[in-house]
């Protein structure tokens, strides 16, 4: 009956998420003054609080001193190993950029309330905890907190009808998938001798049990909904088109990478049943093919990026599959690297979309004609992002895809690698269509391009440069991600 006690490592480990929650709360309470008018002026103080909070949270990732993990914290609920911190880093950097962009974006749409900023920070804190969670309860509560925040973000602009309808569909799909996720977790909990912690589940060695395999399959279905893998992707295009552009960017980057980090950690520990490899192979192949084919004839930029996001979830399934099949986990090292590259690229792409949506809400590819003449920097940023998404050399996307496919071939999944390469060749076509429209078409855009908010220009610039930098000098990030994968099993 000894009283409660918190060790120093536990307090330090929870600092990143804690700072994000505190920033969210401060932003919420600081904006309560002017409730009446929908303020048009950009609330820079919110962006400042958010930026400082994110920077302090990023710094607190390294306050631990050593990068080594100090074992189980909070009775096994969380860990501060390198893999978790790498995921937390990606989430915090994304929340920094999204906070910077949201000031200008929200004020232009006349809906500039602090709820948007604080929900971004709350869901960022929940995602950081999700990347570092090592027991089933904390994974579940973290996923539900971030999903609730993102449902509200998706329906943030209450006035336009399609946003509220898309948000509602997203809510029902999300709640449905968390039902599956929960039932899978209950079965995994029950069949591993009643142990909630992932290490306990790994130690219990129940993975040969039939019901355990069904449990892991249900958890996989739950995550597949969240990430948007094909059989469970029907909500992705509608929500991506209806929701505010920034909320979509947040979903595409942060929610996807946090879910993949958590799925990776869960599957590494639970091992998965006998049939999991075939299911993962089927999921990733179908996702890659359908995602890319559907994106081919998309006219709307948002829907095209939605399907490209689905296709990239298919690519990201490959390292999970590869690591699970072989017993050598380091093969799956391409996942953290690809997620970092994907985060930087997609942030740049959604930065440009935000810049466009500030001046017009039409978003089909035709509107990009001649963007290079009127906005050369924006056009350059968008071109870099699209090239990296397509996997053309000299960009981070290329290195990521190279790693994924070489790992897959190394582990003997030749057919998947071939399908992956073919589908990314197909994707080159629909990624380059906007690039052609921007550079080689004469501008006929009827809307006057007001200059993008400073936050958006800064984000597109930094993310574009980061994509090129990682493309040219990738080995530090490759090494970091390879080491981090080894620390998962502790």
């Amino acid at each position: 009956m000894e009283p409660l006690s918190l060790s120093r490592a536990e307090i330090l480990a929870v600092l990143p998420a804690g700072f994000l929650f505190i920033t969210g709360l401060i932003q919420l309470l600081s904006d309560l003054g002017d409730t009446s008018k929908n303020s048009r002026h950009e609330k820079t103080h919110l962006a400042m609080i958010g930026a400082t909070g994110a920077l302090v949270a990023f710094a607190s990732l390294f306050v631990q001193g050593t990068l080594a993990s100090t074992g189980e914290l909070y009775a096994g609920a969380m860990t501060d190993d390198l893999f978790g911190r790498l995921g937390a880093g990606v989430i915090i950097v994304t929340s920094l950029f999204v906070t910077l962009m949201s000031g200008g974006y929200l004020s232009s749409s006349g809906n500039n309330k602090a709820e948007f900023h604080s929900l971004i920070n709350f869901s960022a804190g929940a995602m950081v905890l999700l990347c570092q969670a090592t027991n089933l309860v904390s994974i579940f509560v973290a996923i539900e907190t971030l999903s609730l925040a993102v449902y509200v973000l998706a329906g943030f602009f209450k006035e336009n009808k399609s946003a509220s309808e898309g948000a509602f569909k997203y809510f029902i799909m999300g709640a449905f998938s968390s039902g599956f996720l929960l039932f899978g977790m209950a079965l995994v909990y029950g069949l591993s001798g009643g142990s909630l912690s992932l290490s306990g589940i790994a130690a219990s060695g129940a993975s040969s049990d039939a019901l355990f395999a069904v449990g892991v399959l249900l958890v996989l279905i739950g995550f597949a909904f969240k990430v948007g893998v094909v059989p469970f992707h029907s909500w992705v295009p509608d929500v991506y088109q209806g929701a505010p552009v920034l909320a979509v960017g947040w979903m595409a980057v942060a929610v996807k990478s946090a879910s993949f980090f958590a799925l990776c950690r869960f599957l590494y520990h639970s091992g998965g049943g006998a049939y999991l490899d075939q299911i993962l192979v089927a999921l990733s192949v179908v996702t890659m093919i359908l995602g890319n084919l559907a994106a081919l004839n998309q006219q709307s930029l948002k829907r095209m990026l939605a399907y490209s996001g689905i296709a990239h979830s298919g690519y990201l399934m490959i390292p999970v599959l590869v690591a699970l099949s072989g017993n050598d986990l380091s093969i799956g090292a391409s996942l953290p690297f690809y997620l970092c590259a994907y985060a930087a690229t997609t942030l740049a792409a959604f930065g440009v979309l935000t810049a466009l949506s500030v001046s017009t809400d039409r978003d089909n590819i035709g509107d990009l004609n001649g963007l290079a003449k009127s906005r050369p920097m924006l056009a350059l940023g968008f071109t870099i992002a699209l090239i990296s998404l397509a996997g053309i050399p000299l960009t981070a996307g290329f290195i990521g895809k190279l790693m994924i496919f070489s790992d897959a071939i190394g582990a003997g999944f030749i057919q998947i690698a071939i399908i992956g390469i073919l589908t990314s060749l197909v994707s080159v076509y629909y990624y380059l269509r906007p690039v052609v429209a921007m550079w080689f078409r004469d501008p006929r855009s009827s809307f006057d391009l007001i200059p993008a908010p400073w936050g958006v220009q800064f984000t597109v610039g930094v993310c574009g440069i980061a994509t090129i930098f990682v493309g040219l000098f990738p080995d530090w990030l490759v090494e970091l991600s390879r080491i981090s994968v080894e620390t998962i099993l502790g």
């Binding site: 009775a75 096994g76 027991n135 089933l136 309860v137 579940f140 509560v141 539900e144 609730l148 449902y151 509200v152 329906g155 209450k158 009808k161 399609s162 509220s164 309808e165 898309g166 948000a167 509602f168 569909k169 809510f171 029902i172 709640a175 449905f176 968390s178 039902g179 929960l182 039932f183 977790m185 209950a186 079965l187 909990y189 029950g190 001798g193 009643g194 142990s195 909630l196 912690s197 306990g200 019901l211």
Partner: protein, 106 residues
Amino acid sequence: MFSLPVLLYLSALLFSIGIYGVLARRNILVVLMSLELMLNAVNIALVGFGRVHALSTTSGEHSGQIFTLMVLAVAAAEAAIGLSLLLLIWRKWKTIDLRELCRLSG
């Protein structure tokens, strides 16, 4: 009759009834209720496993029950957000029919 397999069959049956409710019904209210039903079905399996492993588990005697308490909190917060979204839909579209909602919004 009151044994672990029966508990699991019961929770699987309630879970599938919830799935039927979510997919078949057009009245959004009943869809939201079926979502609550699905989460509740899982609670039975959780508490059942918790009771069976009560003396032998490493994660603490009440681990199943604490997980269920968290599921309770999540289900309540989900119901709150779901019903406010429903109210928003009702105010904008004046319908609570899921299929019509899809048709209207194109």
